[in-house]
């Protein structure tokens, strides 16, 4: 009904004007939220891009690390193989030493035993190195898989943020359209609507405060003191309201909605 009246050029009542102002205020809030969403979505997109770049670099480093661990493992296996062969040589020296008469045979046996003991120590240490290298290789493989999953997640976040930004931009466009329609329907411009809304809020606050004062018992409140206190503020306000009422006859009748 009010829309029809406004469309027909009939001036709206004061409550209608306040509701229109609230509409404008809500639109302003929506526009601000939409702009914030767009800006934040852009920041998230940029962060996701930077994160992907960092993950790419980290993945490369981990792959390099894995290849080094693999190389260490391979080297340890070669050392193990060489020690195995050395062990066989030492066993053969021992066999030959056992066959050879004294004193050369005994010397060969001693050499064989010494070599075998050192080979055993070397083999034990190499087995430890091999276990560590294999463990590192396994860990780096697991790390690479986790990094790849993180990269996929980051890509998804970047894509979602881009969609969010697009949605926020669409919302801004829709709010622009809404602004044009509101301007046409309410006859207000955004600045005046904001001011009107603020004035309405202040007036409501004033009414609530005065109502609270009035609710006290007469013996509790010195009304003349209240009037004396509020007079300097309310006097100019009353004059301003009176002049506004003279200029806008529609306000005299109160709520016409």
């Amino acid at each position: 009904m009010d829309v029809l009246r406004r469309t027909a050029g009939v001036p709206a009542g004061p409550r209608i004007a306040l509701e229109d102002a609230s509409l404008w205020e809500a639109r302003e809030k929506a526009a601000k939220a939409s702009a914030d969403s767009s800006r934040l979505a852009e920041k998230v997109t940029a962060s996701a891009t930077r994160q992907r770049a960092q993950l790419d670099v980290t993945t490369e480093r981990v792959v390099l690390f894995a290849s080094k661990a693999e190389a260490a493992s391979s080297a340890a296996r070669r050392v193990m193989d060489a020690l195995d062969r050395l062990s066989v040589v030492a066993l053969n020296v021992g066999l030959e030493g056992a066959r050879t008469p004294e004193p050369l045979g005994r010397a060969l046996l001693l050499v064989s035993e010494e070599v075998r003991a050192n080979v055993a120590r070397g083999a034990e240490a190499t087995r430890d190195v091999l276990a560590v290298a294999d463990g590192l290789s396994l860990e780096s493989t697991d790390l690479t898989q986790r990094l790849e999953r993180s990269r996929q997640d980051s890509t998804e976040i970047g894509g979602d943020a881009a969609l969010l930004k697009t949605a926020a931009q669409d919302t801004s466009l829709a709010l622009g359209e809404l602004e044009a329609r509101l301007r046409k329907a309410t006859g207000l411009d955004p600045e005046l609507a904001r001011t009107l809304s603020q004035a309405g809020d202040h007036a409501k606050g004033l009414i609530m405060a005065l109502t609270a004062i009035e609710s006290h018992e007469p013996h509790e409140v010195d009304r003349s003191a209240v009037v004396a206190a509020l007079g300097p503020v309310l006097g100019p306000l009353m004059k301003l309201l009176a002049s506004t009422t003279d200029e806008r006859p529609g306000l005299k009748g109160g709520d016409e909605a």
């Binding site: 195995d84 062969r85 066989v88 066993l91 053969n92 020296v93 021992g94 066999l95 030493g97 056992a98 066959r99 046996l109 064989s112 035993e113």
Partner: protein, 167 residues
């Protein structure tokens, strides 16, 4: 044998030092001593072919240092020669000059070992039986010939039977 005598040779563990007891009845223990008069050299097992099995011992042929040798696998139950616990192959030489390659074993020690009664040798507070490779080879060879003699494939055809009757 008197105390204080030492014998040259090597100590073998059948199927590696941590393997289960040997399956073949020809092998007196899991750890055995082989005399240096038979054992020549420890080699790496390369080209070889398994052809048969008798008395729980695998039999084959292997090329070692450019010559063919009879291969005796003392632990034929494992999946393959040259595994971690069966990494050694011991080339033995019989008096006849024939080469015998023992595989499926791990050489635990070589050198001089105190000989004890039995005859046995002392190794790590254990008395080890002495394995005669020549005897082992002879027994396996005999078993192979026995099985061939009993096989139906080796019987003469029915038309050549001495009694003239058909089968």
């Amino acid at each position: 044998m008197s105390a204080g005598v030492e014998r040259a040779g090597l100590v073998l563990a059948i199927g590696g030092d941590d393997a289960a007891a040997p399956r073949s009845t020809l092998l007196p223990g899991r750890r055995l001593f082989v005399s240096a008069s038979e054992a020549r050299v420890i080699v790496e097992l390369r080209a070889h072919t398994m052809v048969d099995r008798a008395l729980g011992i695998g039999i084959g042929v292997a090329a070692v240092t450019g010559k063919l040798a009879t291969l005796l696998d003392l632990d034929p139950t494992r999946t393959g020669a040259g595994e971690k616990n069966n990494r050694h192959a011991v080339l033995c030489e019989l008096d006849s000059g024939e080469g015998i390659l023992l595989v499926g074993v791990s050489v635990l020690a070589t050198g001089l070992f105190a000989e004890e009664t039995g005859p046995t040798v002392a190794f790590e507070s254990e008395r080890l039986e002495i394995l005669s490779v020549a005897n082992l080879y002879r027994k396996i060879e005999m078993r192979i010939w026995e099985s061939r003699a009993l096989s139906p494939h080796t019987r003469p055809p029915a038309s050549r039977r001495s009694d003239g009757r058909s089968a």
